[in-house]
Amino acid sequence: MNMQPISGGFSNAPLQSATAFRAVLQAMSRPGLWQAIDGAAPPAPLSQASGALILTLADPNTPVHLAGTLDCDAVRGWITFHTGAPLVAAQDADFAVGAWDDLQPLDRFAIGTPEYPDRAATLIIELDGVPAANARLTGPGIDGEITAFCPGDRPTAFPLGLDLILTDGARIMGLPRSTGLEFL
């Protein structure tokens, strides 16, 4: 029997998901700053950070879209076993996970409606190492301005837009729709 889907979850979900959530909350409220997040050991190619994010935020109420190489049996089985989240196409997703290129085109994802801008997808973008800063970030959560790496621009018509979480190994960086991006 293949035991891989069963291992790699939180060993103490209430405490570990609380710690992981604080990392996400910090990431989204302080765009451009990297936060450590761990506790999950998902199967490759899913990163530790993405695994922890999914364990913390996804459940049967939140459709998840897997893009590119992440859309494999090992990752599908792990997410299904640990969260029960339905795996869906891009346009139906609350959360989408993948490399930047695999998630394109971004206009497939929900960006909310004027009455309910919260009904927008959150994209979890897997990076393999973080290149040098290439963008100037401004807006809520940023004291003045900060430079950081951003894989590219995203469709935003504030208050509508996509909220991004970049992952690299066991750390995350938030890029909410409220952040102004100026590529250098």
């Binding site: 979900a13 209430p14 405490l15 998901s17 609380a18 710690t19 959530f21 604080r22 996400v24 909350l25 910090q26 989204m28 409220s29 302080r30 913390t56 935020l57 996804a58 459940d59 109420n61 939140t62 609350d94 409606t113 004027p114 009455e115 309910y116 801008p117 919260d118 927008a120 959150t122 807006g139 809520p140 959560g141 940023i142 004291d143 003045g144 504030f158 208050p159 909220d163 909410p176 729709r177 409220s178």
Partner: protein
């Protein structure tokens, strides 16, 4: 069996916490916008901070240090009962010192001591919709927010001036967040409004009965609504504290007898006590 064994960590079940956490993240991403959430029955009545308690429960980590205040005081019934609730259900450390706290749940005040990065303020909110008393229909207020159609609020403030000669709103004074959403800062005195602007702390707002969560990330521009010829003034009682002598803190007026005797004291009990310690 202890209370910690009888309940999940921080009382709420994990599925509920996930739902609240997702709402919190969207609230942070859209500062000032009220995110609907499936508020739960809590073991306390509506009006006692069920929204704030749910937000705190969803944010709390085992090594957090929690402070709870009610109108600035650490020792009133509401503050004591919520603090004990989280001591029993999360076994979390508590404090009365603003500087030592990592999460501060508050009913209707922002502490006098400066907040710092990494701290989280959780506000208890009775009526989250700033336009509700001007327009009772949720469908209409939702459309007004969608269109950023806030003329009605300016008319209300203007009528205040026409009737009273000044903007008479003294608490729950409406603010505009990053030039977009008009937001109810909860019934804090307008004296506290300037502390919302560009704060290093994260501010989260929970309305349990009304099932709304909203947020102000750190370093967010928060402007109190006003007019060029009637600018916003953060007012307080024109006295010094009768206990610690502070002139810069928000004061409560306390009736001391039935002969008309009264005194003014700091509403922030921890701030007042720290100043008494300094003086001694």
């Amino acid at each position: 069996m202890t209370a910690m064994d009888a309940y999940n960590f921080a009382y709420l079940d994990e599925e509920t916490k996930r739902m609240i956490r997702r709402a919190l993240l969207k609230a942070v991403a859209i500062p000032g916008y009220q995110v609907p959430f499936a508020s739960r029955e809590m073991p306390m009545p509506y009006g006692w901070g069920t929204g704030g308690v749910q937000v705190t429960a969803a944010c709390l980590m085992a090594d957090d240090v929690l402070k709870v205040i009610d109108q600035g005081a650490d020792d009133t019934t509401n503050a004591v009962s919520i603090r004990r609730f989280f001591q029993r259900t999360a076994d979390v450390a508590v404090t009365e010192e603003t500087e030592a706290a990592t999460i501060i749940q508050t009913r209707h005040r922002i502490p006098e001591a400066a907040l710092r990065e990494g701290q989280i303020m959780v506000f208890q909110v009775p009526i989250p919709e700033p336009l509700r008393f001007l327009e009772p229909r949720e469908t209409e207020t939702r459309r007004m927010h969608a269109l950023a159609d806030y003329g009605l609020m300016q008319v209300k403030l203007y009528e205040d001036i026409a009737r009273h000669g000044e903007i008479a709103t003294a608490y729950a004074y409406p603010v505009r967040v990053e030039g977009r959403y008009v937001m109810d800062p909860s019934p804090i005195p307008k004296f506290d409004n300037p502390k919302l602007n560009d704060s290093p702390a994260l501010m989260l707002f929970g309305a349990g009965r009304e099932q709304r969560i909203y947020a102000l990330p750190p370093y967010t521009q928060v402007e109190s609504l006003d007019f060029d010829d009637h600018p916003f003034v953060a007012s307080k009682a024109d006295h010094a504290c009768d206990i610690c002598g502070a002139t810069e803190s928000y004061l409560d007026e306390v009736i001391t007898d039935d002969q008309g005797g009264r005194m003014f004291v700091c509403s922030d009990t921890a701030f007042c006590r720290s100043r008494q310690g300094d003086a001694a």
